[in-house]
Protein backbone atom coordinates (compact mmCIF):
# COMPACT_ATOMS: atom_id res chain seq x y z
CA UNK A 1 0.00 0.00 0.00
CA UNK A 2 1.35 3.42 -0.93
CA UNK A 3 1.63 5.88 1.94
CA UNK A 4 0.05 9.33 1.76
CA UNK A 5 3.48 11.00 1.69
CA UNK A 6 4.56 8.88 -1.28
CA UNK A 7 1.37 9.75 -3.17
CA UNK A 8 2.04 13.43 -2.48
CA UNK A 9 5.62 13.12 -3.79
CA UNK A 10 4.59 11.10 -6.84
CA UNK A 11 1.82 13.57 -7.77
CA UNK A 12 4.21 16.52 -7.44
CA UNK A 13 6.68 14.75 -9.72
CA UNK A 14 3.99 14.02 -12.33
CA UNK A 15 2.78 17.64 -12.21
CA UNK A 16 6.34 18.91 -12.68
CA UNK A 17 6.72 16.60 -15.67
CA UNK A 18 3.48 18.01 -17.07
CA UNK A 19 1.49 14.75 -16.93
CA UNK A 20 -1.28 16.10 -14.69
CA UNK A 21 -2.65 19.59 -14.05
CA UNK A 22 -2.60 21.25 -10.60
CA UNK A 23 -6.37 20.91 -10.26
CA UNK A 24 -6.26 17.12 -10.69
CA UNK A 25 -3.38 16.87 -8.20
CA UNK A 26 -5.33 18.75 -5.50
CA UNK A 27 -8.48 16.67 -6.16
CA UNK A 28 -6.56 13.40 -5.80
CA UNK A 29 -4.84 14.70 -2.65
CA UNK A 30 -8.18 15.72 -1.14
CA UNK A 31 -9.64 12.28 -1.87
CA UNK A 32 -6.62 10.46 -0.38
CA UNK A 33 -6.69 12.74 2.68
CA UNK A 34 -10.36 11.84 3.31
CA UNK A 35 -9.54 8.12 3.06
CA UNK A 36 -6.62 8.58 5.48
CA UNK A 37 -8.80 10.42 8.00
CA UNK A 38 -11.54 7.78 7.83
CA UNK A 39 -8.97 5.02 8.41
CA UNK A 40 -7.47 6.93 11.34
CA UNK A 41 -10.94 7.44 12.82
CA UNK A 42 -11.75 3.70 12.61
CA UNK A 43 -8.45 2.84 14.33
CA UNK A 44 -9.17 5.45 17.00
CA UNK A 45 -12.67 4.01 17.61
CA UNK A 46 -11.36 0.44 17.77
CA UNK A 47 -8.62 1.31 20.26
CA UNK A 48 -11.09 3.38 22.29
CA UNK A 49 -13.45 0.40 22.53
CA UNK A 50 -10.63 -2.01 23.40
CA UNK A 51 -9.35 0.43 26.05
CA UNK A 52 -12.81 0.79 27.61
CA UNK A 53 -13.42 -2.95 27.62
CA UNK A 54 -10.02 -3.53 29.25
CA UNK A 55 -10.75 -0.91 31.93
CA UNK A 56 -14.21 -2.40 32.55
CA UNK A 57 -12.81 -5.93 32.81
CA UNK A 58 -9.94 -4.64 34.95
CA UNK A 59 -12.42 -3.19 37.44
CA UNK A 60 -14.29 -6.52 37.49
CA UNK A 61 -11.07 -8.39 38.23
CA UNK A 62 -10.06 -5.93 40.94
CA UNK A 63 -13.52 -6.41 42.42
CA UNK A 64 -12.99 -10.17 42.33
CA UNK A 65 -9.98 -9.71 44.61
CA UNK A 66 -12.50 -8.91 47.42
CA UNK A 67 -10.82 -6.38 49.69
CA UNK A 68 -11.24 -7.64 53.19
CA UNK A 69 -9.76 -4.63 54.99
CA UNK A 70 -12.42 -2.16 53.78
CA UNK A 71 -15.59 -1.79 55.88
CA UNK A 72 -18.98 -2.79 54.47
CA UNK A 73 -20.41 0.78 54.09
CA UNK A 74 -17.30 1.94 52.19
CA UNK A 75 -17.42 -1.16 50.00
CA UNK A 76 -21.11 -0.49 49.35
CA UNK A 77 -20.31 3.04 48.17
CA UNK A 78 -17.50 1.65 46.01
CA UNK A 79 -19.96 -0.83 44.50
CA UNK A 80 -21.92 2.06 42.98
CA UNK A 81 -18.80 3.71 41.56
CA UNK A 82 -18.48 1.83 38.23
CA UNK A 83 -22.11 2.60 37.30
CA UNK A 84 -21.98 6.17 38.66
CA UNK A 85 -18.77 7.00 36.75
CA UNK A 86 -20.16 5.41 33.58
CA UNK A 87 -23.41 7.40 33.88
CA UNK A 88 -21.49 10.68 34.27
CA UNK A 89 -19.25 9.87 31.29
CA UNK A 90 -22.27 8.99 29.15
CA UNK A 91 -24.10 12.18 30.10
CA UNK A 92 -21.00 14.18 29.12
CA UNK A 93 -20.86 12.29 25.81
CA UNK A 94 -24.56 12.90 25.17
CA UNK A 95 -24.27 16.61 25.84
CA UNK A 96 -20.84 17.43 24.40
CA UNK A 97 -19.44 14.60 22.28
CA UNK A 98 -22.47 12.90 20.71
CA UNK A 99 -21.17 13.26 17.15
CA UNK A 100 -17.73 11.90 18.03
CA UNK A 101 -17.83 8.16 17.21
CA UNK A 102 -14.73 7.32 19.22
CA UNK A 103 -16.14 8.95 22.38
CA UNK A 104 -19.55 7.38 21.87
CA UNK A 105 -18.28 3.84 21.33
CA UNK A 106 -15.70 3.99 24.14
CA UNK A 107 -18.09 5.31 26.79
CA UNK A 108 -20.77 2.86 25.62
CA UNK A 109 -18.40 -0.10 26.05
CA UNK A 110 -17.49 1.13 29.54
CA UNK A 111 -21.12 1.75 30.48
CA UNK A 112 -22.14 -1.68 29.20
CA UNK A 113 -19.57 -3.38 31.44
CA UNK A 114 -20.01 -1.17 34.53
CA UNK A 115 -23.27 -2.81 35.84
CA UNK A 116 -21.51 -6.20 35.75
CA UNK A 117 -18.73 -4.88 38.01
CA UNK A 118 -21.26 -3.30 40.41
CA UNK A 119 -23.40 -6.45 40.60
CA UNK A 120 -20.30 -8.57 41.32
CA UNK A 121 -19.18 -6.24 44.08
CA UNK A 122 -22.61 -6.18 45.77
CA UNK A 123 -22.85 -9.98 45.43
CA UNK A 124 -19.57 -10.29 47.33
CA UNK A 125 -20.36 -7.77 50.05
CA UNK A 126 -23.82 -9.17 50.78
CA UNK A 127 -23.05 -12.82 49.98
CA UNK A 128 -25.75 -12.90 47.31
CA UNK A 129 -26.26 -16.40 45.91
CA UNK A 130 -27.13 -17.47 42.41
CA UNK A 131 -25.49 -18.93 39.34
CA UNK A 132 -23.78 -17.29 36.39
CA UNK A 133 -27.04 -17.33 34.41
CA UNK A 134 -28.71 -15.05 36.96
CA UNK A 135 -25.72 -12.71 36.82
CA UNK A 136 -25.72 -12.56 33.01
CA UNK A 137 -29.48 -11.97 32.92
CA UNK A 138 -29.28 -9.04 35.33
CA UNK A 139 -26.24 -7.61 33.58
CA UNK A 140 -27.90 -7.75 30.13
CA UNK A 141 -31.09 -6.19 31.54
CA UNK A 142 -29.06 -3.31 32.98
CA UNK A 143 -26.73 -2.88 30.00
CA UNK A 144 -29.35 -3.19 27.22
CA UNK A 145 -30.35 0.52 27.17
CA UNK A 146 -26.71 1.44 26.44
CA UNK A 147 -26.83 0.39 22.80
CA UNK A 148 -29.96 2.47 22.15
CA UNK A 149 -28.91 5.58 24.09
CA UNK A 150 -25.51 5.80 22.40
CA UNK A 151 -26.36 3.92 19.18
CA UNK A 152 -23.30 1.86 19.97
CA UNK A 153 -22.09 -1.11 17.95
CA UNK A 154 -19.60 -2.04 20.68
CA UNK A 155 -22.41 -2.18 23.26
CA UNK A 156 -24.51 -4.25 20.83
CA UNK A 157 -21.64 -6.73 20.46
CA UNK A 158 -21.33 -7.03 24.26
CA UNK A 159 -25.10 -7.51 24.64
CA UNK A 160 -24.95 -10.08 21.84
CA UNK A 161 -22.25 -11.94 23.80
CA UNK A 162 -24.33 -11.77 26.99
CA UNK A 163 -27.46 -13.02 25.21
CA UNK A 164 -25.64 -15.93 23.59
CA UNK A 165 -23.91 -16.76 26.87
CA UNK A 166 -27.25 -16.76 28.69
CA UNK A 167 -28.83 -18.91 25.97
CA UNK A 168 -26.05 -21.47 26.22
CA UNK A 169 -26.18 -21.53 30.04
CA UNK A 170 -29.94 -22.03 30.02
CA UNK A 171 -29.60 -24.64 27.28
CA UNK A 172 -27.15 -26.55 29.46
CA UNK A 173 -29.52 -26.43 32.46
CA UNK A 174 -32.76 -26.89 30.53
CA UNK A 175 -33.22 -30.44 31.80
CA UNK A 176 -33.51 -29.25 35.40
CA UNK A 177 -36.41 -26.95 34.67
CA UNK A 178 -34.71 -23.71 33.61
CA UNK A 179 -37.05 -21.85 31.33
CA UNK A 180 -36.00 -19.79 28.34
CA UNK A 181 -38.55 -16.98 28.57
CA UNK A 182 -35.93 -14.32 29.44
CA UNK A 183 -33.88 -15.28 26.42
CA UNK A 184 -36.63 -14.17 24.04
CA UNK A 185 -36.73 -10.53 25.12
CA UNK A 186 -32.92 -10.42 25.10
CA UNK A 187 -32.96 -11.78 21.56
CA UNK A 188 -35.66 -9.28 20.56
CA UNK A 189 -33.53 -6.36 21.79
CA UNK A 190 -30.51 -7.57 19.82
CA UNK A 191 -32.63 -7.92 16.67
CA UNK A 192 -34.38 -4.57 17.12
CA UNK A 193 -31.02 -2.79 17.28
CA UNK A 194 -29.76 -4.47 14.11
CA UNK A 195 -33.01 -3.71 12.32
CA UNK A 196 -33.16 -0.08 13.48
CA UNK A 197 -29.52 0.96 13.10
CA UNK A 198 -28.06 -1.36 10.47
CA UNK A 199 -30.73 -2.57 8.08
CA UNK A 200 -33.06 0.43 7.98
CA UNK A 201 -30.16 2.82 7.64
CA UNK A 202 -28.54 0.46 5.11
CA UNK A 203 -25.19 1.04 6.79
CA UNK A 204 -22.44 -0.64 4.75
CA UNK A 205 -19.90 -0.40 7.52
CA UNK A 206 -17.42 -2.81 9.04
CA UNK A 207 -19.98 -3.36 11.79
CA UNK A 208 -22.62 -4.43 9.25
CA UNK A 209 -20.22 -7.15 8.07
CA UNK A 210 -19.43 -8.23 11.65
CA UNK A 211 -23.14 -8.26 12.55
CA UNK A 212 -23.73 -10.39 9.43
CA UNK A 213 -21.68 -13.11 11.16
CA UNK A 214 -22.75 -12.50 14.76
CA UNK A 215 -26.48 -12.54 14.07
CA UNK A 216 -26.69 -16.02 12.49
CA UNK A 217 -24.38 -17.30 15.23
CA UNK A 218 -26.94 -16.14 17.78
CA UNK A 219 -29.45 -18.79 16.72
CA UNK A 220 -27.05 -21.72 16.45
CA UNK A 221 -26.43 -22.57 20.15
CA UNK A 222 -30.04 -22.14 21.21
CA UNK A 223 -31.71 -24.04 18.41
CA UNK A 224 -30.86 -27.27 20.20
CA UNK A 225 -33.09 -26.29 23.13
CA UNK A 226 -36.15 -27.37 21.20
CA UNK A 227 -34.38 -30.44 19.99
CA UNK A 228 -33.38 -31.62 23.46
CA UNK A 229 -36.40 -33.87 23.69
CA UNK A 230 -36.55 -34.49 19.96
CA UNK A 231 -33.26 -36.45 19.92
CA UNK A 232 -31.62 -36.76 16.51
CA UNK A 233 -34.30 -34.59 14.90
CA UNK A 234 -32.13 -31.75 16.20
CA UNK A 235 -29.70 -32.52 13.36
CA UNK A 236 -32.53 -31.96 10.90
CA UNK A 237 -33.46 -28.68 12.58
CA UNK A 238 -29.87 -27.50 12.29
CA UNK A 239 -29.57 -28.56 8.66
CA UNK A 240 -32.73 -26.66 7.67
CA UNK A 241 -31.47 -23.62 9.58
CA UNK A 242 -28.14 -23.70 7.72
CA UNK A 243 -29.96 -24.19 4.43
CA UNK A 244 -32.20 -21.21 5.22
CA UNK A 245 -29.11 -19.09 5.88
CA UNK A 246 -27.86 -20.01 2.39
CA UNK A 247 -31.29 -19.24 0.87
CA UNK A 248 -31.46 -15.92 2.70
CA UNK A 249 -28.32 -14.78 0.86
CA UNK A 250 -29.81 -15.44 -2.54
CA UNK A 251 -33.20 -13.79 -1.97
CA UNK A 252 -33.53 -10.04 -2.17
CA UNK A 253 -35.84 -9.55 0.79
CA UNK A 254 -34.90 -5.91 1.17
CA UNK A 255 -32.16 -3.51 0.22
CA UNK A 256 -29.70 -4.94 2.73
CA UNK A 257 -26.21 -3.46 3.06
CA UNK A 258 -23.19 -4.88 1.21
CA UNK A 259 -21.34 -7.61 3.01
CA UNK A 260 -24.26 -8.17 5.39
CA UNK A 261 -25.23 -11.49 3.85
CA UNK A 262 -21.72 -12.95 3.54
CA UNK A 263 -21.80 -14.06 7.18
CA UNK A 264 -25.07 -15.91 6.67
CA UNK A 265 -23.76 -17.64 3.55
CA UNK A 266 -20.41 -18.67 5.05
CA UNK A 267 -21.92 -19.91 8.31
CA UNK A 268 -24.80 -21.68 6.59
CA UNK A 269 -22.55 -23.42 4.09
CA UNK A 270 -19.93 -24.39 6.70
CA UNK A 271 -22.61 -25.74 9.05
CA UNK A 272 -24.22 -27.83 6.31
CA UNK A 273 -20.84 -29.25 5.29
CA UNK A 274 -20.01 -30.19 8.91
CA UNK A 275 -23.32 -32.08 9.19
CA UNK A 276 -22.69 -33.83 5.87
CA UNK A 277 -19.31 -34.95 7.20
CA UNK A 278 -20.87 -36.10 10.50
CA UNK A 279 -23.15 -38.46 8.58
CA UNK A 280 -20.37 -39.65 6.27
CA UNK A 281 -19.31 -42.01 9.07
CA UNK A 282 -20.65 -45.52 9.16
CA UNK A 283 -21.17 -45.18 12.91
CA UNK A 284 -23.31 -42.03 12.61
CA UNK A 285 -25.43 -43.36 9.80
CA UNK A 286 -25.97 -46.70 11.54
CA UNK A 287 -26.84 -45.27 14.96
CA UNK A 288 -28.40 -41.91 14.19
CA UNK A 289 -30.43 -42.54 11.02
CA UNK A 290 -32.44 -45.21 12.86
CA UNK A 291 -33.40 -42.71 15.52
CA UNK A 292 -35.41 -40.57 13.09
CA UNK A 293 -38.73 -41.93 14.31
CA UNK A 294 -42.04 -40.25 15.09
CA UNK A 295 -41.81 -41.51 18.68
CA UNK A 296 -38.98 -39.06 19.37
CA UNK A 297 -41.06 -36.23 18.00
CA UNK A 298 -44.03 -36.99 20.26
CA UNK A 299 -42.06 -35.71 23.24
CA UNK A 300 -41.53 -32.23 21.86
CA UNK A 301 -44.49 -30.50 20.25
CA UNK A 302 -42.50 -27.32 19.77
CA UNK A 303 -39.80 -29.17 17.83
CA UNK A 304 -42.52 -30.54 15.50
CA UNK A 305 -43.87 -27.03 15.00
CA UNK A 306 -40.36 -25.76 14.29
CA UNK A 307 -39.53 -28.54 11.83
CA UNK A 308 -42.78 -27.96 9.92
CA UNK A 309 -42.32 -24.17 9.92
CA UNK A 310 -38.66 -24.31 8.80
CA UNK A 311 -39.49 -26.77 6.02
CA UNK A 312 -42.38 -24.61 4.79
CA UNK A 313 -40.10 -21.56 4.72
CA UNK A 314 -37.51 -23.63 2.86
CA UNK A 315 -40.07 -24.70 0.27
CA UNK A 316 -41.40 -21.18 -0.23
CA UNK A 317 -37.89 -19.72 -0.51
CA UNK A 318 -36.86 -22.48 -2.94
CA UNK A 319 -39.86 -21.82 -5.19
CA UNK A 320 -39.06 -18.10 -5.19
CA UNK A 321 -35.43 -18.81 -6.12
CA UNK A 322 -36.48 -21.21 -8.85
CA UNK A 323 -38.95 -18.74 -10.34
CA UNK A 324 -36.35 -15.94 -10.22
CA UNK A 325 -33.79 -18.30 -11.86
CA UNK A 326 -31.31 -17.88 -9.04
CA UNK A 327 -31.13 -21.59 -8.35
CA UNK A 328 -27.71 -23.17 -7.80
CA UNK A 329 -26.21 -26.28 -6.22
CA UNK A 330 -25.95 -24.72 -2.71
CA UNK A 331 -29.74 -24.64 -2.50
CA UNK A 332 -30.23 -28.41 -2.61
CA UNK A 333 -27.85 -29.49 0.16
CA UNK A 334 -30.74 -30.13 2.56
CA UNK A 335 -32.96 -32.33 0.34
CA UNK A 336 -29.98 -34.42 -0.74
CA UNK A 337 -28.87 -34.90 2.88
CA UNK A 338 -32.47 -35.88 3.65
CA UNK A 339 -32.37 -38.53 0.90
CA UNK A 340 -29.11 -39.90 2.36
CA UNK A 341 -30.74 -40.15 5.81
CA UNK A 342 -33.89 -41.81 4.45
CA UNK A 343 -31.84 -44.39 2.55
CA UNK A 344 -29.57 -44.79 5.62
CA UNK A 345 -32.59 -45.60 7.74
CA UNK A 346 -33.21 -48.74 5.67
CA UNK A 347 -29.64 -49.54 4.73
CA UNK A 348 -26.95 -47.59 6.65
CA UNK A 349 -24.13 -48.67 4.34
CA UNK A 350 -25.88 -47.40 1.21
CA UNK A 351 -26.87 -44.21 3.05
CA UNK A 352 -23.26 -43.64 4.10
CA UNK A 353 -22.06 -44.32 0.55
CA UNK A 354 -24.56 -41.80 -0.83
CA UNK A 355 -23.45 -39.16 1.67
CA UNK A 356 -19.80 -39.70 0.74
CA UNK A 357 -20.55 -39.58 -2.97
CA UNK A 358 -22.49 -36.37 -2.42
CA UNK A 359 -19.55 -34.71 -0.62
CA UNK A 360 -17.25 -35.86 -3.44
CA UNK A 361 -19.59 -34.47 -6.11
CA UNK A 362 -19.96 -31.25 -4.12
CA UNK A 363 -16.18 -30.91 -3.95
CA UNK A 364 -15.91 -31.49 -7.72
CA UNK A 365 -18.67 -28.93 -8.46
CA UNK A 366 -16.87 -26.38 -6.29
CA UNK A 367 -13.56 -27.02 -8.08
CA UNK A 368 -15.32 -26.70 -11.44
CA UNK A 369 -16.99 -23.46 -10.36
CA UNK A 370 -13.69 -22.20 -9.00
CA UNK A 371 -12.03 -22.81 -12.37
CA UNK A 372 -14.98 -21.42 -14.31
CA UNK A 373 -15.33 -18.22 -12.28
CA UNK A 374 -11.57 -17.98 -11.58
CA UNK A 375 -12.31 -18.06 -7.87
CA UNK A 376 -9.52 -19.41 -5.63
CA UNK A 377 -11.81 -19.73 -2.62
CA UNK A 378 -14.22 -22.10 -4.37
CA UNK A 379 -11.39 -24.02 -5.98
CA UNK A 380 -9.41 -24.59 -2.79
CA UNK A 381 -12.50 -25.21 -0.63
CA UNK A 382 -13.60 -27.91 -3.09
CA UNK A 383 -10.20 -29.54 -2.96
CA UNK A 384 -10.11 -29.34 0.85
CA UNK A 385 -13.48 -31.17 0.98
CA UNK A 386 -12.17 -33.98 -1.18
CA UNK A 387 -8.90 -34.23 0.78
CA UNK A 388 -10.79 -34.23 4.08
CA UNK A 389 -13.15 -36.92 2.82
CA UNK A 390 -10.26 -39.12 1.73
CA UNK A 391 -8.37 -38.60 5.03
CA UNK A 392 -11.47 -39.47 7.06
CA UNK A 393 -12.17 -42.59 5.00
CA UNK A 394 -8.60 -43.74 5.59
CA UNK A 395 -9.64 -44.45 9.16
CA UNK A 396 -12.51 -46.67 8.00
CA UNK A 397 -10.62 -48.76 5.46
CA UNK A 398 -7.47 -50.74 6.02
CA UNK A 399 -5.38 -49.30 3.17
CA UNK A 400 -1.63 -49.85 2.91
CA UNK A 401 0.74 -46.99 3.63
CA UNK A 402 1.94 -47.10 0.02
CA UNK A 403 -1.56 -46.44 -1.35
CA UNK A 404 -2.15 -43.71 1.23
CA UNK A 405 1.16 -42.10 0.23
CA UNK A 406 0.30 -42.20 -3.47
CA UNK A 407 -3.13 -40.67 -2.85
CA UNK A 408 -1.63 -37.83 -0.81
CA UNK A 409 1.00 -37.09 -3.47
CA UNK A 410 -1.70 -37.01 -6.15
CA UNK A 411 -3.81 -34.66 -4.03
CA UNK A 412 -0.82 -32.37 -3.40
CA UNK A 413 -0.06 -32.26 -7.13
CA UNK A 414 -3.77 -31.60 -7.78
CA UNK A 415 -3.65 -28.57 -5.47
CA UNK A 416 -0.65 -27.11 -7.33
CA UNK A 417 -2.04 -27.79 -10.79
CA UNK A 418 -5.53 -26.49 -9.95
CA UNK A 419 -4.22 -23.24 -8.52
CA UNK A 420 -1.73 -22.83 -11.37
CA UNK A 421 -4.46 -23.25 -14.01
CA UNK A 422 -6.71 -20.70 -12.34
CA UNK A 423 -3.81 -18.27 -11.82
CA UNK A 424 -2.80 -18.52 -15.51
CA UNK A 425 -6.37 -18.08 -16.72
CA UNK A 426 -6.83 -15.10 -14.42
CA UNK A 427 -3.62 -13.46 -15.68
CA UNK A 428 -4.64 -14.13 -19.30
CA UNK A 429 -8.08 -12.62 -18.67
CA UNK A 430 -6.55 -9.53 -17.04
CA UNK A 431 -4.18 -9.11 -19.98
CA UNK A 432 -7.04 -9.57 -22.41
CA UNK A 433 -9.17 -6.98 -20.57
Amino acid sequence: MISFKNIEKRLEEWRNQGFIPLELESRILEYEKGKKNAANNTVFILFGIIGSILIGLGISLMVAENWDHISRPIKTILAFMPVAIALCLVLFTLLKRFENDAWRESTAAFWALAPGASISLIAQIYQIQGGTDGFVLLWVAMAAPVMFVLRSNAAWTLIWLGTTWYGVLQYARHDIGHSMHHYWWMLALVLVFVWRFVLVKNASTLFAKVAGYLLPMLFIPVLGIFGLEAGVWTFLLYFVLFQLYIHFCSIDLADFPDGWKTGFLNLGFSGAIVLLFVFSYKFSMKNLANEFTLQHLDKSKFAVFEIVLFNLIYLAASIKLFVNQKWNFTHILYPIWLICILVGKFDPEVGQLLDNVFILVLGCIMIWRGVEHLNFLWLNAGMVFIVLLIILRFFDFNLSFFIRGVVFILLGVGFFIGNKIVMEQKNRKELHD
Partner: protein, 193 residues
Protein backbone atom coordinates in the same frame (compact mmCIF):
# COMPACT_ATOMS: atom_id res chain seq x y z
CA UNK B 1 -32.95 8.56 17.80
CA UNK B 2 -32.71 12.23 18.68
CA UNK B 3 -30.45 13.53 21.43
CA UNK B 4 -33.53 14.42 23.49
CA UNK B 5 -34.85 10.85 23.34
CA UNK B 6 -31.39 9.51 24.15
CA UNK B 7 -31.22 11.68 27.28
CA UNK B 8 -34.72 10.52 28.26
CA UNK B 9 -33.69 6.85 27.99
CA UNK B 10 -30.46 7.70 29.84
CA UNK B 11 -32.51 9.06 32.77
CA UNK B 12 -34.69 5.91 32.86
CA UNK B 13 -31.62 3.67 32.58
CA UNK B 14 -29.84 5.58 35.37
CA UNK B 15 -32.87 5.28 37.67
CA UNK B 16 -33.18 1.57 36.85
CA UNK B 17 -29.50 0.78 37.30
CA UNK B 18 -28.91 2.73 40.50
CA UNK B 19 -32.36 1.84 41.84
CA UNK B 20 -31.94 -1.90 41.27
CA UNK B 21 -28.46 -1.95 42.81
CA UNK B 22 -29.84 0.01 45.77
CA UNK B 23 -32.75 -2.41 46.13
CA UNK B 24 -30.36 -5.38 46.21
CA UNK B 25 -28.51 -3.76 49.11
CA UNK B 26 -31.71 -2.65 50.89
CA UNK B 27 -33.22 -6.16 50.75
CA UNK B 28 -30.13 -7.77 52.23
CA UNK B 29 -29.88 -5.14 54.98
CA UNK B 30 -33.51 -5.85 55.88
CA UNK B 31 -32.59 -9.51 56.42
CA UNK B 32 -29.58 -8.51 58.54
CA UNK B 33 -31.91 -6.40 60.66
CA UNK B 34 -35.09 -8.50 60.91
CA UNK B 35 -33.92 -12.01 60.02
CA UNK B 36 -33.61 -14.83 62.54
CA UNK B 37 -30.22 -16.50 62.90
CA UNK B 38 -29.81 -20.19 62.03
CA UNK B 39 -26.96 -22.65 61.86
CA UNK B 40 -26.65 -25.15 58.98
CA UNK B 41 -24.06 -27.94 59.17
CA UNK B 42 -21.91 -27.79 56.05
CA UNK B 43 -18.87 -29.02 54.16
CA UNK B 44 -16.93 -26.77 51.82
CA UNK B 45 -14.49 -26.49 48.95
CA UNK B 46 -12.86 -23.60 47.15
CA UNK B 47 -13.64 -23.03 43.49
CA UNK B 48 -12.94 -19.73 41.68
CA UNK B 49 -15.14 -17.68 39.39
CA UNK B 50 -13.38 -15.25 37.04
CA UNK B 51 -16.34 -12.84 37.13
CA UNK B 52 -17.55 -12.74 40.69
CA UNK B 53 -14.34 -13.72 42.44
CA UNK B 54 -13.25 -16.34 44.91
CA UNK B 55 -15.74 -18.11 47.11
CA UNK B 56 -16.28 -21.23 49.17
CA UNK B 57 -18.81 -23.67 47.80
CA UNK B 58 -20.90 -24.91 50.72
CA UNK B 59 -22.48 -28.35 50.67
CA UNK B 60 -25.23 -29.60 52.98
CA UNK B 61 -26.96 -32.87 53.77
CA UNK B 62 -30.40 -33.06 52.25
CA UNK B 63 -33.31 -32.00 54.43
CA UNK B 64 -36.56 -33.91 53.97
CA UNK B 65 -40.07 -33.25 55.13
CA UNK B 66 -43.59 -34.48 54.59
CA UNK B 67 -45.97 -32.58 52.32
CA UNK B 68 -49.20 -34.42 51.66
CA UNK B 69 -50.90 -31.98 49.31
CA UNK B 70 -48.16 -32.39 46.74
CA UNK B 71 -49.24 -35.75 45.33
CA UNK B 72 -52.96 -35.04 45.57
CA UNK B 73 -52.95 -31.73 43.76
CA UNK B 74 -49.72 -32.05 41.80
CA UNK B 75 -48.20 -29.13 43.68
CA UNK B 76 -44.51 -29.18 44.49
CA UNK B 77 -43.61 -27.43 47.77
CA UNK B 78 -41.58 -24.27 47.25
CA UNK B 79 -41.18 -22.85 50.76
CA UNK B 80 -39.41 -24.35 53.79
CA UNK B 81 -40.35 -23.03 57.23
CA UNK B 82 -37.67 -23.34 59.90
CA UNK B 83 -37.23 -23.22 63.63
CA UNK B 84 -34.09 -23.77 65.70
CA UNK B 85 -33.16 -26.65 68.00
CA UNK B 86 -31.39 -26.13 71.37
CA UNK B 87 -28.00 -25.66 69.72
CA UNK B 88 -29.28 -23.05 67.28
CA UNK B 89 -29.29 -25.37 64.26
CA UNK B 90 -32.07 -25.01 61.73
CA UNK B 91 -34.88 -27.52 62.08
CA UNK B 92 -37.47 -27.95 59.33
CA UNK B 93 -40.99 -27.33 60.61
CA UNK B 94 -42.97 -27.71 57.43
CA UNK B 95 -43.04 -27.35 53.66
CA UNK B 96 -45.55 -25.27 51.77
CA UNK B 97 -46.65 -24.45 48.24
CA UNK B 98 -47.46 -20.84 49.16
CA UNK B 99 -45.46 -18.41 51.34
CA UNK B 100 -46.72 -18.87 54.91
CA UNK B 101 -48.78 -15.97 56.26
CA UNK B 102 -48.03 -16.41 59.94
CA UNK B 103 -44.27 -16.85 59.82
CA UNK B 104 -41.34 -14.88 58.41
CA UNK B 105 -38.84 -17.67 59.10
CA UNK B 106 -38.94 -19.37 55.74
CA UNK B 107 -36.83 -19.61 52.59
CA UNK B 108 -37.88 -19.99 49.00
CA UNK B 109 -36.50 -23.19 47.47
CA UNK B 110 -35.29 -23.53 43.90
CA UNK B 111 -34.89 -27.29 43.59
CA UNK B 112 -37.11 -29.72 45.49
CA UNK B 113 -37.26 -33.41 44.69
CA UNK B 114 -39.45 -36.28 45.80
CA UNK B 115 -37.95 -38.60 48.41
CA UNK B 116 -38.45 -42.26 49.25
CA UNK B 117 -40.62 -43.52 52.10
CA UNK B 118 -40.48 -47.24 52.88
CA UNK B 119 -38.77 -47.91 49.57
CA UNK B 120 -41.38 -46.06 47.48
CA UNK B 121 -41.71 -42.51 46.27
CA UNK B 122 -44.06 -40.86 48.74
CA UNK B 123 -45.19 -37.60 50.22
CA UNK B 124 -41.64 -36.86 51.26
CA UNK B 125 -39.94 -33.91 49.62
CA UNK B 126 -36.25 -33.13 49.95
CA UNK B 127 -33.94 -30.18 49.28
CA UNK B 128 -30.53 -28.84 50.14
CA UNK B 129 -30.32 -25.37 51.74
CA UNK B 130 -29.63 -22.90 48.91
CA UNK B 131 -26.88 -21.10 50.90
CA UNK B 132 -24.23 -22.22 48.46
CA UNK B 133 -21.59 -19.51 48.21
CA UNK B 134 -19.48 -17.71 50.77
CA UNK B 135 -17.26 -15.07 49.16
CA UNK B 136 -13.77 -14.69 50.58
CA UNK B 137 -10.71 -12.55 49.78
CA UNK B 138 -8.64 -14.03 46.96
CA UNK B 139 -5.63 -14.94 49.15
CA UNK B 140 -7.67 -16.52 51.97
CA UNK B 141 -9.99 -18.84 50.02
CA UNK B 142 -7.44 -21.64 49.32
CA UNK B 143 -6.31 -21.54 52.98
CA UNK B 144 -9.91 -21.77 54.16
CA UNK B 145 -10.31 -25.03 52.26
CA UNK B 146 -7.05 -26.37 53.76
CA UNK B 147 -8.12 -25.39 57.29
CA UNK B 148 -11.45 -27.16 56.73
CA UNK B 149 -9.78 -30.33 55.47
CA UNK B 150 -7.28 -30.42 58.34
CA UNK B 151 -10.09 -29.84 60.85
CA UNK B 152 -12.37 -32.62 59.69
CA UNK B 153 -9.48 -35.12 59.58
CA UNK B 154 -8.18 -34.37 63.08
CA UNK B 155 -11.27 -33.61 65.13
CA UNK B 156 -15.03 -33.76 65.47
CA UNK B 157 -15.42 -29.99 65.51
CA UNK B 158 -18.61 -28.85 63.83
CA UNK B 159 -18.48 -26.79 60.66
CA UNK B 160 -21.54 -24.70 59.97
CA UNK B 161 -22.95 -21.76 58.06
CA UNK B 162 -24.44 -18.94 60.10
CA UNK B 163 -27.28 -17.36 58.15
CA UNK B 164 -30.19 -15.04 58.69
CA UNK B 165 -33.55 -15.94 57.18
CA UNK B 166 -36.45 -13.58 56.57
CA UNK B 167 -39.47 -13.76 54.32
CA UNK B 168 -38.14 -16.23 51.81
CA UNK B 169 -34.69 -14.69 51.43
CA UNK B 170 -31.50 -15.17 53.40
CA UNK B 171 -28.03 -13.81 53.92
CA UNK B 172 -24.92 -15.72 54.98
CA UNK B 173 -23.21 -14.02 57.91
CA UNK B 174 -20.27 -16.34 58.40
CA UNK B 175 -18.93 -19.86 58.06
CA UNK B 176 -17.60 -21.17 61.35
CA UNK B 177 -15.39 -24.03 62.43
CA UNK B 178 -16.15 -24.68 66.10
CA UNK B 179 -16.79 -21.15 67.27
CA UNK B 180 -14.16 -19.46 65.08
CA UNK B 181 -14.85 -17.71 61.82
CA UNK B 182 -13.26 -19.52 58.89
CA UNK B 183 -11.94 -16.16 57.72
CA UNK B 184 -9.91 -15.70 60.94
CA UNK B 185 -8.66 -19.28 60.85
CA UNK B 186 -7.64 -18.96 57.19
CA UNK B 187 -5.91 -15.66 57.93
CA UNK B 188 -3.79 -17.19 60.73
CA UNK B 189 -3.07 -20.20 58.50
CA UNK B 190 -1.97 -17.79 55.75
CA UNK B 191 0.35 -15.91 58.13
CA UNK B 192 2.05 -19.08 59.41
CA UNK B 193 3.00 -20.15 55.86
Amino acid sequence: MTKRNAIFIWIIAAIFQLGYLGKMIWDKNQIFYYGKQYKFKCALRDPANPIVGRYLELNYDQICGEYKVALDENKIPKYAIFNTNDSGYAKLISLDFMPPEKSTNYIKLEYVYQGYLNGRLGNIWCFRPPLERYYLPEDLAPDAEKVFRETIINSNVEVYTLARIWKGDFVIEDVLIGNCSIKDLARSHYKTK
